[in-house]
């Protein structure tokens, strides 16, 4: 019989204490992964620890250094934020892709990351934007780079008693922009079969001076692909360098066959998405002064 408790702590410290005391308790943000898993009998937590009443976890702050997204900030709040959309269009596109309007009303950026899905839409864009994850636990605070956060399907670096408080994203340099594309068979309401995020920085002549590429749903975790970035750096994002970036992304992919797609398909398509996302990011960066 179900004996699950519901708790709504008001501080990070209280939340940490609750999960440290009870390893079967689950942190609960938007619940859009957790309640589905609960419904499917994947787990029977002893308690839901609702994070949304902790002020530090909810909200968006943009300043000269960059962006702070509270871990329990709902997707819809992020997509409605003009400044964030202007500076990180790719990240916001990814947030906007998560589920439906209803799901975005609840699902959070932190939940997407902490759920640890290889197919999570926002993790790859966080990675290319050099996001850092602020983790608080019984031992205090530590920071982990987004590319290191997820370690395997459903598994993250979070240790017992630890929680994600916020993600920090540095303000992009001039003529820098990101893009995210995913492939789903329908136009909405699907989990990515493959995804690619790209961030590029261009100089005045349109030459790419910095780039990051990350891919989703084609490896046990969202993956940073330095080879693909290298293919772009130093180029004007011409066809040949885009093609090499695509090839590097496909080569880095280690997908599986499942009901959502085949190995061969995912490998090929992640290259196509990388190429398209890179040229989108390039066009956006080039459009800046």
């Amino acid at each position: 019989m179900q004996t699950t408790r519901y708790e709504a702590p008001a501080t990070v410290a209280d939340a940490v204490r609750l999960i440290q005391a009870d390893p079967d308790a689950r942190l609960f943000a938007g619940g859009t992964d957790l309640l589905v898993q609960y419904r499917m009998g994947v787990h029977r937590p002893s308690a839901f620890i609702d994070l949304k009443r902790i002020p530090e976890l909810v909200g968006i702050a943009v300043d000269a250094r960059g962006l702070r997204l509270g871990a329990a900030t709902a997707a819809a709040v992020i997509t409605e934020h003009r400044e964030v959309s202007r500076l990180w269009p790719g990240l916001v596109e990814a947030v906007h892709l998560v589920g439906s309007t209803q799901i975005q009303g609840r699902g959070t950026i932190g939940g997407n990351l902490c759920n640890g899905s290889p197919a999570a839409d926002t993790t790859a864009p966080l990675i290319v934007n050099r996001a850092r994850c602020v983790i608080v636990g019984p031992e205090g605070e530590r920071i982990v780079n987004a590319e290191d956060f997820v370690i395997a399907p459903g598994a993250t670096v979070l240790q017992r008693g630890e929680m994600l408080v916020a993600v920090l994203i540095p303000r992009p340099a001039g003529r820098t922009a990101d893009a995210y594309l995913r492939l789903i068979p329908r136009s909405e309401m699907d989990i990515a079969v493959a995804g690619a995020a790209v961030s590029v920085t261009l100089d005045a002549a349109g030459v790419c001076t910095a780039a990051r590429v990350a891919i989703a749903a084609v490896a046990p975790r969202p993956l940073l692909v330095p080879d693909a970035a290298q293919a772009l750096i130093g180029s004007t994002l011409d066809d040949e360098s885009l093609r090499r970036a695509a090839a590097a992304a496909s080569a880095a992919a280690t997908p599986i066959d499942d009901k959502r797609g085949t190995v061969a398909y995912r490998r090929q398509v992640v290259g196509v998405l990388t190429r398209r996302a890179a040229s989108m990011a390039g066009a956006r960066a080039g459009a800046q002064k």
Partner: protein
């Protein structure tokens, strides 16, 4: 009946009477009903696709606090009874075994036991405590596996019925039925053909996808009187199936239909009601059973996965001369796929002098299929219409001209036997030629496909009553659950006959005690057959009103005429002032009492329907993803009573067919576990997947119906499979023969092309 009929109410678009309740959330559907003392049921389902039940231990569950009843297959009698319906019927033994398995489980999700407890959580916990011991058997998941030599046999007693193929063992077998349709000399026909095209096509098992899961409440009284509240396409059918399976009188059961949240054929069989009755009988309290979405996918009836080998031969000028086809349809766990209907529909659109079609009904370890809109026709038509497209391309003929050249018309003998009466296929094709869509330019990476589709439509039994109230308003009562606007259509018919404005007519769906027997809402028969009953009942009421007018005038009824809601004096009635319905109604108590018109009908036939779809598809050739960018449905609807709801049938059927063509499918692993029993991974079309769906209503009146109505609900799902695939062929140059056209499949084919 001529096409010149003029109507005052029929053909208008009033707001439906049940609409307000539906937009405000007040309408009650299957799961919305509750009773004092209600218990909640939960069904224990098999984790295996094929297994023998060795033992079921219910003692732990039965001993849990709050658990009031636990039942197994032992509580559902094994019966050999059948319930007749139209041409076919239900094998109640199979249906009972599907409700709660007796000896073997035949698919993952097959019910084996059920519990009733004081809360849903307790019921779920008790269900988990039921221990079932299985001997797991090798599952038979595909047609090829079922037909293979030495295949595991699902039913030891199953024999091939119909026209078994020569030299093939008919028992024990997984082939439940084989039938043949033939005419002329097919070998000679192919020999005379200038071109012959032949391919094998497959379509996946797909689900109707109604949004409301099955749900019911049953109360079994100590006196044996039973009341069932349920969401169904046919409450008389629920009553009679439950009575037959449980071995009790139909008169002991009253079934009250709720509003129904979609069915498309899937809410014809009983899955829950007899189980809820049996639980209630044991618990002495009312019991509610509600399926989860996962249960709906795993354990209600989808439609058959199919394999169709087809060959067509044509002359250089496009004249079709020969067709042959072998149809293999999955029945799921028990016999009874729509293979026969698939065979009868396959080439019904065309005059083909020589043909041979065989159809096989094959059991596999998947849920027993149920009807799904024009059951059987979409899959066989997919093959035909793909090959017709291929012939048009090979002959360099316009795809519509080729079809027009061969189109069936009045007087032609249908492949399944009877001669066609007036049918609208040629008119539909002509409307397609005239439609701007047909000649509109295509964009880059776009292709256009066209296909036609056929469905018989059904007649069967219906009852209706029409009461005239003393204020001149009217009530029409019929026995068919309203899934998409049939009540407003019935009210329109009453308005037409009585001249009472439609907002003064109250249409209602009555329970099994309150109206005569009515076959289910299916076969596109409600507007047609039940409509006929409503019209006759209204005419009966009108005759009575005329008699009352005669009485008021002191003349003979033969001297009273009727015009738009008014009794008028005919020759012989003298110089009387016409009497309106209101005036006659006000005097009912003084002229003989209440007026109730009544009618029962059982038309043996219905007017068949044809439709055509034009689809524009845009394909991303680097990813294989495609989108429908423009879509037009054209259909002969006979006479549209409420055109908006007719258009809605066409649009809804088209979108289901598009989903079938592009993404929907049951995905099983090798052990027979369904991998996508949820909407997220089953992938039905969402709003952003589709464009507006244009409709053209062609009206070739059906002479069998007083207004010319034809069934319209099923034809719409027949053309889309081939229309989409033909558009894909046009866009990519590749002929796809396997559905769905999912991105990985498309990309792979483009790469190897």
């Amino acid at each position: 009946m001529s096409g010149e009929q003029r109507f005052k109410y029929v053909g208008t678009r009033p707001i439906r009477h049940d609409g307000l309740d539906k937009v405000t959330g007040r309408a009650n559907y299957g799961a919305d009903f509750t009773l004092p003392g209600l218990l909640h049921g939960h069904i224990v389902r098999s984790p295996h696709a094929h297994a023998r039940i060795l033992a079921i231990d219910t003692s732990a569950a039965a001993g849990m606090p709050g658990v009031m009843a636990v039942i197994t297959g032992d509580d559902i009698p094994k019966t050999t009874a059948r319930l007749m319906m139209g041409e076919g019927g239900f094998d109640l033994g199979d249906m009972g075994d599907n409700l709660l398995a007796h000896d073997k489980v035949l698919y993952q999700g097959h019910a084996v036991a059920a519990v009733a407890a004081t809360s849903p959580e307790l019921a779920r916990a008790a269900a988990e405590a039921v221990a079932v011991h299985y001997e797991v058997l090798t599952p038979v998941m595909t047609i090829d596996q079922a037909l293979a030599a030495g295949a595991p046999i699902l039913h030891d007693g199953l024999t091939t019925k119909g026209q078994p193929a020569a030299g093939v063992p008919t028992s024990p077998t997984n082939v439940a039925m084989r039938m043949e349709l033939k005419r002329g000399d097919v070998d000679k026909g192919f020999a005379e053909s200038d071109i012959v095209v032949e391919r094998t096509f497959t379509t996946p098992m797909v689900h109707q996808g109604y949004i409301e899961p099955h749900a019911c409440v049953a109360r079994h009284g100590e006196d044996g009187q039973i009341v069932v509240w349920t969401s169904t396409q046919g409450h008389f059918n629920v009553r009679d199936c439950s009575a037959g399976i449980l071995g009790i009188d139909a008169a002991k059961i009253k079934v009250i239909p709720s509003e129904i949240g979609g069915g498309f054929g899937g809410k014809i069989p009983v899955y829950l009601e007899p189980v809820a009755i049996a639980l209630s009988r044991k618990a002495h309290r009312p019991v509610k059973l509600v399926m989860s979405r996962e249960d709906v996918f795993r354990a209600s009836g989808p439609t058959s996965g199919t394999k169709v080998r087809m060959k067509l031969g044509a002359k250089q000028d496009g004249t079709l001369v020969a067709a042959s086809a072998s149809l293999y349809y999955e029945a799921g766990a028990y016999k009874g796929s729509p293979a026969g209907a698939g065979a009868m529909c396959a080439i019904a659109a065309y005059r083909i002098p020589n043909f041979f079609i065989e159809a096989y009904d094959i059991v596999v370890n998947r849920p027993k299929v149920a009807a799904y809109r024009a059951p059987g026709s979409p899959s066989s038509t997919f093959a035909t219409e793909s090959l017709i497209d291929e012939i048009a391309r090979r002959l360099n003929m316009d795809a519509l001209d080729l079809r027009l050249k061969n189109a069936a018309t009045e007087g032609d003998q249908a492949p399944y036997g009877p001669k066609f009466g007036p049918i609208g296929l040629r008119e539909v094709l002509a409307a397609a030629k005239a439609h701007p869509h047909w000649t509109a330019p295509l964009g880059a990476n776009q292709g256009r496909g066209v296909a036609v589709g056929f469905w018989f439509n059904a007649g069967m039994n219906s009852s209706a009553t029409v009461s005239v109230n003393t204020d001149g308003s009217a009530t029409v009562v019929a026995g068919n659950p309203d899934i998409g606007g049939t009540r407003v259509a019935q009210a329109l018919m009453v308005s037409e006959e009585l001249g009472v404005p439609v907002e003064r007519v109250r249409p209602s769906v009555a329970d099994t005690d309150s109206i005569g027997f009515s076959d289910l809402t299916g076969g596109s028969r409600v507007c047609y057959a039940t409509g006929m009953a409503v019209i006759e009942a209204a005419r009966d009421a009108r005759e009575q009103l005329k008699a009352r007018a005669a009485k008021m005038w002191g003349t003979d009824a033969a001297h009273v005429g009727w015009d738009d809601g008014t009794a008028i004096p005919l020759n012989g009635a003298g110089d009387r002032t016409p009497l309106t319905v209101n005036e006659i109604a006000a005097k009912l108590a003084h002229t003989g009492g209440p007026v109730i018109g009544r009618a029962t009908v059982n038309p043996p036939m219905a007017g068949p329907g044809f439709g055509l779809n034009i689809c524009d598809l845009e394909v991303d050739k680097e990813t294989g993803v495609s989108r429908v960018v423009r879509y037009t449905c054209i259909q002969d609807v006979g006479k549209a009573i409420h055109p908006s709801y007719v258009e809605g049938q066409m649009q809804g059927g088209a979108s289901q067919g598009i989903g079938w063509a592009l993404n929907e499918e049951y995905i099983y692993d090798r052990e027979g576990h369904l991998e996508n029993p949820g909407f997220l991974d089953y992938r039905m079309p969402v709003a952003s997947d589709l464009p507006m769906i244009d409709t053209v209503l062609v009206e070739v009146p059906n002479p069998l119906h007083p207004y010319g109505v034809r069934g319209v609900g099923e034809v719409p799902i027949v053309p889309p499979l081939a229309a989409v695939a033909n558009a894909m062929r046009d866009a990519t140059g590749v002929r796809f023969t396997d559905l769905p056209l999912s991105p990985p499949r498309v990309l792979e084919a483009l790469a190897t092309d």
